[in-house]
Symmetry: C4
Subunit: 233 residues, 4 copies
């Protein structure tokens, strides 16, 4: 494989979809939220991304079945109160090298731009390195209108406190250069376990903003399954 | 050298060969097995792979003779009970960078695909970091049919316990995208010496699956030679 | 994004401009000087540089507003006693990998060469790792005429004491191959805080050499603001 | 700078020149030998190599004068008893990344091949990490004829003791694929200072093999100068 490529599994037609990115990161916070959305709302996979900048390996899933490293695009039509379309990106890995991250995130932005994406939400965890009493959701956005909106949904704004590292940051940065609006939601997490509390907090903020109806309680069950699958060897 | 290239030493014609990969890794487990197969079954070298993603160095072999870093393809015609053809890949190195691994493993898959490969076996060690009482062979595969087959040959399935790192994993992942079937056999090994016991266990599983007749005892002698060659400076 | 590119914001016409580089580095020394020059002299931004060799992230600025990683080119016409034109380069990052640094600095030299740049000044800090009593400015240059000139402005010459690492060095090295003259001014700094003293010393040397009139006192205020912005989270 | 390039300073005509590589490495062993040969035999520079895989920096030489990172090709016509032509490669750096080393060493081999090089000598140090009582010169070569020749000149052969890392190894490896013969001479050195003793031992072996007449004693003076230049800041 010489370059990043996206394999289209299904031709679809979307109307100004909202793009949600939740590739794996600290505490699996974003990934849990996105997988929950996909299952609860019945999103369907329509494309896969492969890249030579992914880690050079495969995963071993349940019962010895090998899974290649990949990112997966799901879509939803007319979801929630606003009857909006969605593209949701999940996966089992991110790019390893800085140049690889730019290559992959650039391919992702090119791809979703073709479907008319104008608004991006990236989800992740914010590692505190210590016990978190009551999970806060922190946010950042590409405009004052959006940061104001975040505050209305009880998201605390980050401020001059460093960067948003990896795909959750870079996708927003690259989206900005195409005129896309972007929001990043991060759940505070100790960061060293699969953190369903942080995911729940992010999910609540996200569905409040997007006016989606999703069973929040069931997220804890999903986190439990993920924990079991990872601990079982 | 600007890119990975394969130097063909001999034009050969094979019929749906089985591809066995055993590039150097933990405990030299796969490498020992493959070198043993090559010698015992009289496989012949027909191609060499060179890459700018190999370590930038040469090896010094016996009596001061310099060896370039390379991977080597051997072939066997009509071997074992099933009269199958084989391609066996060994070498003195793997790619260093993630992108380099994708480049090299991609070139390998492109190359063996031309000979009609549909089935891949990758061999390696699984480091335990501690003494191993009775070496187990662990396995993973690209389909349920294959994992079931592995269990019939007393290979224990790995399960959701992380990844198969390096060429032994990536070759399977890239093969999957070409519709190739794949199996990885890993011998448990402490990992910090040349482990003939782990190699023997992998060899026994492999020849049972592939119905090959190979002298297993002689593997220990070969391991001893390798140990001497490496310790002697 | 596959390669480094420069986005021109405004067509401008300059006459043999002097190029001042001050990308972020140790103690924020050069960056503070250049930002001060830009504000005090009213320099205007005319181009931005983006690169896949920048860190794969975005910054979060004040009140949760996301800023992409970028370098920014400012210009000044007919400034100071000598009525010279200037191009000033600042930014929130440098390239990460060695190859990335060459790519980015090469793009910068290509770009400024088109405006007729023949003289380069690169600004930075020189980390001492310990308390600095009275900040000295150290310098190096591409010719004896320039090192002599530096001594006349009370800049102490560095000598065979290692290298100038990063953009401040590489831009001079690449400029030399185009026949550009270059000077590097480095303020001694402990290196582990935003060092207004080191910046002030570099600023005084620079405006003495270039015959610019700039309020030096106000630099301390700017450093204070920067410190507050960074400490506030 | 997007790729490695060689700037030809003078058109020259050589007859089957012997190529001596001595880029900087452990203990400056090879570099000292080559610089000594260049000065004592009056070799003349005819080409320079620049690369984006060199460290992204410049050196500061004596009295604040900036030197770009580069490799330099010198030549000698009809030198020594055998009236042979020579190309000698020195420089202030090597490539940083593995891929960069392949790129640079490949460009070097391409370049010297055009002059008809068939024999390569690479010079370096072999770090012992401890005090060396009597410096031995260790060697390796691409054929039995050459290793035998080395033993006749009292060079001890290395044997299965790992690799020759960096340009001194890789140039031999890449040369082999063009049918060039190669020898590596390494002087044992503690490795943490500029080691004139190791250089002297390598020089004695080299001039014995190549039948060159060079003042060995003066090498110590040159090492002393280098030490002073590096310690002086």
């Amino acid at each position: 494989m010489e370059k990043t490529f996206i394999k289209l599994l299904k031709e679809i037609d979307l109307s100004d979809p909202i793009f949600i990115e939740a590739l794996p990161g600290i505490g699996h916070v974003g990934k849990l939220v996105a997988e929950h959305l996909i299952h609860e709302l019945g999103a369907e996979k329509f494309a896969e991304l492969y890249s030579p900048s992914f880690p050079p390996q495969v995963f071993v899933g349940e019962k010895g079945i090998i899974e290649p490293m990949k990112n997966e695009f799901y879509y939803l039509k007319s979801a929630g109160e606003d009857h909006k379309d969605y593209i949701i990106l999940v996966g089992n890995t991110q790019g390893l090298s800085p140049e690889g991250q730019y290559d992959i995130c650039g391919a992702i932005i090119d791809f979703v731009e073709k479907y008319g994406v104008k608004d991006i939400y990236t989800l992740g965890g914010l590692g505190t390195g210590q016990h978190v009493d009551k999970t806060k959701v922190l946010g950042a956005a590409t405009s004052k209108e959006l940061t104001k909106m975040l505050e209305e949904h009880e998201v605390k704004l980050r401020s001059s406190d460093g960067g948003i590292i990896g795909a959750s940051g870079l996708i927003l940065g690259l989206g900005m250069s195409r005129g896309m609006n972007g929001v990043c939601l991060m759940g505070e997490t100790p960061g060293y376990f699969i953190d369903a509390d942080a995911s729940k907090a992010v999910l609540i903020a996200l569905i409040s903003i997007l006016k989606l109806e999703v069973d929040v309680a069931r997220l804890e069950e999903r986190a439990e399954e993920t924990r079991k699958m990872i601990s079982k060897a």
